[in-house]
């Protein structure tokens, strides 16, 4: 009896010290379903300051379609960016900005509050870098690992809604 308890303790210990990957997932296998009426161009993980971007789903997803399953090491809480070709709902109000070098307008839309429009449009032209035109939304998602299914849809207010299963 004494040895049985010791044995069980050792099993528990080794399971939580070097074998925990047998029951915890260290990768996320993500599939995205597009329930909006526009095309999703891709899904990226964005750094908190917005300067670094790592693509996750690179396929274009037509309305009503599903993406392929892509496995990546993202387990935890991350900022996700979903890019669209256009957006038929409301866009965020414009914040006027001027490029210092060429005085060409750079349109950047500010972050939305709950219930406000949450789709950004970024339009950068002639600022010395490549011209960028992008319609996208950003949200923070908690990936638990394993097989996860993300449904992107449009709610009745015309904003993007996410559902992670």
């Amino acid at each position: 009896m004494k040895y049985l308890r010791l044995f069980l303790c050792l099993v528990a210990l080794s399971l939580t010290a070097c074998m925990s990957h047998l029951f915890t997932d260290t990768t996320t296998r993500l599939q995205v379903e597009n329930k909006t009426d526009v095309t999703i161009l891709g899904l990226d993980i964005v750094s908190e300051d917005g300067t670094s971007v790592l693509p996750w789903i690179r396929d274009s997803i037509e309305p009503g379609e599903k993406s392929r399953v892509v496995e990546e090491d993202w387990v935890g809480t991350f900022k996700v960016r979903v890019r669209f070709d256009k957006w038929n709902g409301k866009l965020l109000a414009s914040v006027g900005k001027f490029c210092a070098t060429y005085s060409t307008p750079v349109r950047v839309y500010a972050l939305a509050k709950q219930g406000d429009p949450n789709v950004f449009e970024k339009d950068v032209k002639g600022c010395g870098e490549d011209d960028v035109h992008m319609v996208y939304t950003e949200t923070t998602l908690d990936f638990e690992g394993g097989s996860q299914y993300l449904i992107v849809s449009q709610d009745e207010d015309g904003n993007v809604a996410f559902k992670l299963k």
């Binding site: 993980i45 935890g76 690992g145």
Partner: protein, 408 residues
Amino acid sequence: MKNGLNKIFLLLVMVAGVAFADPIPTEALTQGGLVMRDRQLRDIGLVMRGGRGGFVDIGYTYTPSSEQLQLQSKYGVHDGFAFRHHYGIFGSWVLDSTSHFGFLTWFDRAGWDSQDFFFFPHYGDFAHISSALTWGFSYTNTEYDVTAALGLQHQNLEKAGWRVYPDENDSLLFYWAHARYKMVGLQASFYRSTFQTIRLSLDLESRSLYGGAGSGFKTYLPNLNATIYRRKTNGDDDNFIRLNWEQNLYKQTLYADVTFDFPDDGFRSAILKYYPDPARMIGFEASCLRRHEFAGSKDLLWGGAIDLLFFRLGYNSAFDYENMFHTKGTLVAEFRFQIGAVDGKFFGRGAAKPAPMETTKNSIDLKKLMKARAEQNSASPKYDAQGNKVIEAKGIRYEKTDATQGGH
């Protein structure tokens, strides 16, 4: 019922320990090699106080949950495990009656990975795994009370995920030397022709373990060490000095350990350590560390640790913060074993006195002692308060007595 309550309490503590944990920053991981190398040289310095006998220290940290020590990268918070596996071994041979030749090796492997492991890491995309190995030879002459040691130090980067860590050099070769004359020690480590650290130690406290006094004012003298660290800030030399003062407060069981950084940062940490036995097999500590992240009292990290012979449990302790990548807000458990031996006596790291021996030697002594005491008793008779001679009966003896003499 009571047992059940204890279990619930333990569970609550564990949940709280995980729930309030702060993720560890990637910057702390990239500095890991430097921290490991410095701690190994400090450990070697402690063992070289005697420079003979042997020392073993082996352990690994145990963090059971993948949400306990998450990683904070620029992309967010990653689930995973911070780990630290280490050993340190020193052994010496007696060459002649005064000379001792020793070999030492210290090894640390530490970092963060998305899976936990004993030997074979998963090498996830955000893993950072590096190791440091210090080895060398020592020579001690007990007649002059001198020790000289020198060797090499290897810092090896096994894996650093390119997405979140800056480029680091791999497989760096450092070399180090340590010299001690009585209570003064000098230690230096170099990379090519530039120094990394230079440490001057004055271990003035008298230690009965190494033939010093066991009590008295000499045991209350301080242990001081000053280390010059090479540091670069924006490409310019920005060296700093770390001053460390360990002070015996009560009978070599209660110590204060204070650290200051010069010239700029000032107070670094203060630790109050209590060892129920001066051999330091078991220890309790309370620590306060200044993190240089905020202003005022918010910057101070208060914590403590319980150090049993095979197990150490710390919460926000200064040691864990510095050696486990700025871990805070969680319980850090470590399975470990460390013991040193000099002249057949055992002690823990940095101890002043050997552990009391309670094995076979004592039982032989006990017999001799009893015999000696018995002889002593028969030789010198005892006297009671009135000055009458008292003879103690040994064994029971029945004697026939005469009724006329008043006997019963």
